[in-house]
Amino acid sequence: MSFREKHLWISVVASVAVWGWYFWFLIRHVAAGRLVSDHFTGDVSLAFMGSLVVVVLVEVVLTIIATATTPKSERDTRDEREILASLKASHIALMALIGLVFCVSAGAYFAGLVDDTLVGGAAVFSITGEIMVLLANVLLACLVLAELVRAGVTLMLLRALR
């Protein structure tokens, strides 16, 4: 396995573990009806900062291990096959991100439309600080998913071109 592949696996594992936990925490909070709690924004912000620190630490530690177990000549080399796989995967990830952001935008638009015209601003998704935090997290989930698509497709292409 090349250094590039190891690094991609590190990214996938760290993202799935840490962001997986974070979004599970968020979903549990929302499902438990804490969206309207005074502590919602604080709790979520704390969990986000903690996740950010942990994901960076996990990636740094695993990258140090990968560096130590890969010969220097292989670490420094990033050849055309890897660049090609990376470019193709980035294109697919960008399309996925556009699709996801479009869906979120459409969802927000229709939620606003329903709220404004049908229930007169009384719906649970009426604009509040908590809803903005929730929307920010949905967009963060889109970014994490797009990054996972990029890493996953790059790994798949590197395997196919071997």
Partner: protein, 72 residues
């Protein structure tokens, strides 16, 4: 996702053998590529760029057509 191999045949494995059984890692180092890319080329799963093809031919000291042949 897996496509048919490109119609370009190569003699890299054979040329390595004749070059004192040069390893894939040695060839990769000499042309600035990874060993996995040499493996992919030898298996016909990846066709290198023109620049990489010239580098490979230069390592073996042969014309590029001695290394790569179009089968289309």
């Amino acid at each position: 996702m897996t496509k048919a191999p490109p119609p370009i045949r190569n003699r890299i494995r054979e040329l390595r053998f004749h070059a004192g059984e040069m390893t894939q890692a040695d060839l990769a180092t000499r042309i600035g590529m990874t060993r996995q890319t040499i493996v992919a080329m030898e298996q016909g799963k990846y066709s290198p760029s023109l620049e990489a093809a010239f580098r490979i031919a230069a390592v073996f000291g042969v014309p590029i057509t001695e290394v790569f042949q179009w089968e289309g």
